[in-house]
Amino acid sequence: MNPSEPKSLAEWRSYVAKLSEDALFEQAKAVNSLGFIQTLQDEEYSADEIHEIFLAFARALGKTGLRPPADGVYDYFKLIEEATHSA
């Protein structure tokens, strides 16, 4: 397992949890692009799995208490709310 290249959902969660605040924001914005999502699809992640990955980012963003990055494929505000309720 390469911590910088997570594969399973558990690895993704662990990867996100270890990101610094700046890195978290930067990567949360980057992954929320069409191209990255298509890459995940090419890697045969299912829709549910992709959803879980984004929830991981949302959970981490929620913990910072700061405003999440906007203008991506997915709405981090909604994801944070979902993550909060499912916790």
């Binding site: 692009s33 069409l34 298509q38 699809q41 045969e44 992709i50 203008d71 997915y74």
Partner: protein, 1076 residues
Amino acid sequence: MPHLTDLQNRVLSTAAALTHQANFAGMDKLSYVEGEKLVQDVAAEAKVPVAQVRELLLAASTAATDAAANHLKLLNAEAENLGGSVQRPQVTDAGMSPLGLQLAQGSQELTPRPDFALQSELNAAFHKTAEDFESTRVVVTRRATPKVVAEVAEASGKLLKLFHELDGSRNDLQVKQEIIRVYQDLLADAARDRGVYLAKSTAEHPLSSYQSDATKSRLPGKAHEKGADTVGVGSAVSIDPSTGKPFVFDYHGEVLEIATLGEFVSRRHEQFELDQAADKLAQEPKAIDALRSLSPEGLKRLHGEVEHVTLFEDDKQEIARVYATRWHREAAGVLERRVVVEGPFAGVYLDDLVQELATRRGHGMALDSNMQPKSVTQRHGEPFVTTCQVQERGEKREKLAVRIPEDRSWTRVRRALRRLSELEPAVKYREGSKNTTFVFGPENYKLVRDIVGDLILNGPATSKLQSYFTELTKVEVASSDASLKDHTAHAVGGFKDKLVSKSGEAKPFELSYWQQKSLAWLSARDYKGVIALDTGMGKTLVAIGVMQELAKRTGEAKPFLYVCPPGLEGNIAVEARRFMEPNEAEALLARLTVIDYKHFAKACRTGSYEDKPFAGKEFGGVFFDEAQWIRKRTTVGGEAALKFDNSHKVVLTKSVMKDNVEDVLTLASIANNVDLNGASGKELRYTMRKFRDLYCTVVAGRTVGVKEALELTPGQFVDPKHNMHAFIKANFLWADKRTDDVRLKGFEPRLETMPMPPKMEEDYRAKTVKITKLLQGMVSLYRDKGVKETFVDEKGRTRTVLNPLAKDRRIANVMGQKLAKTIHELNDFCNTPDKIDRARDLVVKHLEASLTSRTVLFSDSPEFVVATAQRLSSAQRGEHALPPGKLHAACLAKEIRLYQDGKLVDTYKPKAYVAADGHTVPAGEWQKYVIDEIIGKNPDVLTTTMLGPVYQEGQNLQWANVGVHLDRDTWSRQNTEQREGRLWRKGQERRVTFYNVDWVFKNPSDSYDRTLDQVRGMQEKVSGDVFKEIIVVPQASLLGGEWQGVRKQKDLMLDTGVLEYAMSPDIAQAAQQGGF
């Protein structure tokens, strides 16, 4: 001379002194005007009121007048002894009344004497005459004989000249005497006759105000006396010489004319000239023979009543020199013309006589830049237009007739007109006239004038044309931009001043330019007409505005009726509450009955709705929204709308014409309250049929093109569409959203062609083998208008060779029921997953450009709608994958589904819903609620696939910026534009791109080898072109532009915005993408 008081002495001496100062020998030397000035000056000098000075001066001369009156009394006594009287004055050998004669003889004794009193006596009589003259009105009744009219006019003319001769010199005395004499004769002549009367009209009792009463009442048949200033109603007056007071006579018959003496003379001027010319011509038998068209035997065979008409107004019974005429219809002709039946001109057609006389007189009529008739010198042998009567479709109609000279220089014009008459049935050739005479209506004036050049028109022709164009431009003028201030939101009343936007900002509210223009236009047309504003331009607010104006400006108290497609009944309430003050909105909605088209037709049939009577007269105004639903006059809805009798019918539609020019006529007839299916619609149906036959290429009742200009003679073309443009512009107010206040960001249609894979093409060709030729024929018809080849023949005429493929009769069946099954199967065959994948590619492409991009797709197949939504939501791979977790909606007639990641996650059905703000949405509005609130407001709904026929009207989809037409099951551009208009409308803040996805052959065998998708594309383009030609272009045309005076009005200038649209077809762009 009676003893004068001190005051009288003072006034008289002041008057004499002032007169001397002004270097006049005496007061008798003063003209009427100067005399008045003297009165004013004396009043100022002597410090005496003007009225008193006048009275004193007159009193001084009255003494002299009394002497004259006594003298006249003696004269009348003598006249009575001779058997005459005031009522029936005796006419002397000199042709004057005894009164006039004696005055004339007496005046010789009264020629200049230094005696002030005698001269004053004349002046007093003159002043009275002058006063009488100014207030005299000539009253002409139908009993007047031409002779007395002429005599009165002649005498009046003399009087006018005499007044002008007064110059303050010594000669004035004679002139004044002559004035008195002529005036007295005038009164006597009029009194003698029973058709022309002279009556007094004063400021307090103007005679014109009695004219209407004059036609109703008859005074008792005896003379009676009236006050000095008021003579009464339409009465004759004469002066009793014994008392000097006016006498009143009664009159008989209808009052034809009341005019001042000056007007009376000027009106007869032209007639006198013509009459004089006629007198001269009557002395030239050879000239008359040349004009004569009917022999004495031919005249004997005429039947019908003799009607007396004049030369000038050849169709009215004017009172002047008249000619006895009868109507004559030429053999095998439809033209009837008046022919003179008596006198030296017997056998001559009246219009021939008029033209001959006008030529001899050297005068015709033309129009100056202000549309006013002006006299012009007509050269011998110039085209001349007059009026005539024509028997047409069982009715006598007044038309214009043009006469072209016979000489060689006019040969080309004659031939061109003859050719025109062969092509345009509304221009009729008079058989046997050697191409010289043609009859036409005012609507074809421009056509004729374009061929002939400048025309000379006589009075009646000028009047007819002026009336026609005045009527035509009346509404244009009344709804010009200058009048828009009366139709702002504030002027209309009831609207909010400000609207609060989504961000909470309050912005001032105003109706847009086109909304105001619509209200002005409808107001000028008494609130009826077709408003064809583009989608999203606010037609519903126009309807609300009209209701407000009807209620507030005309006091309309009856309820209003609003008819709309099913499912859209809630729209108007939403708009009213959004834009109006709450109390105004509720008040309006309380008196509004909203009904869908299906229930409307039923209510019309049964005569009741919701237990209340249902008929046109129950409503103050009727509004038909999305009126393309009733554009066919033979459908139940169309029939009902045409029959629904109400004088304020407003038709609102974006789609004025789907595929048939007659749609235009149906919508206009609904608005104009003409039952097109009934007798009153007969004329209109005929007009439209003629228009369609002449100007359009029609296949199976569908208009496929508008013909180009007509070639009359080699190289000479004329555009015949002018009068149809006038009809369209007069009945429709059309505007495209490109010209709206709020400039939308832009609309881009694009064509996505998909070459068929080999197996698919093989199967496709197998399915279409029976209709291959048909499709090729449609390609020829729609793309090439059926023309195979164009060339110029040996005579210089442009000729075309038609493609036999385009004449395939089965083309007519393609859009009908016969081939519906085949076409449907082909559609299903073409709606494949590949097409959905291509659509998906387009969605992704736009997402890459903007992650907030949202797409709406339209299909005419419910199965394909579901398949599309499901497939778009399913997991994909590769660079064209859509992000998972997003929602994809499928909107069907009875269900709206939401798919996510290939699974159905939610379904909405027709029922009442509770909105977020707690209010209940009625079940009838479920579609709008789900689309606006559930789908529209959720940006996670990435794509929405809709069943076209259900959702192409009434929905606001401005939240989407990309559209896709998945299939073309509709044969009309109008439907396509409706769907596009859901996204591209006011409120759309982004540029909209709309795609058509067409299957094409990878390697077509020739230029006619095309798929059904492509053929449909061509048909839509034609439909768009025809729409543009018939609806758009006229909006830019200048109604009545052939009249220079009309050009001056800037409000009728060309609308460059409309022209831009007309000249930059969006469809051409689509054609360029894939090519046809």
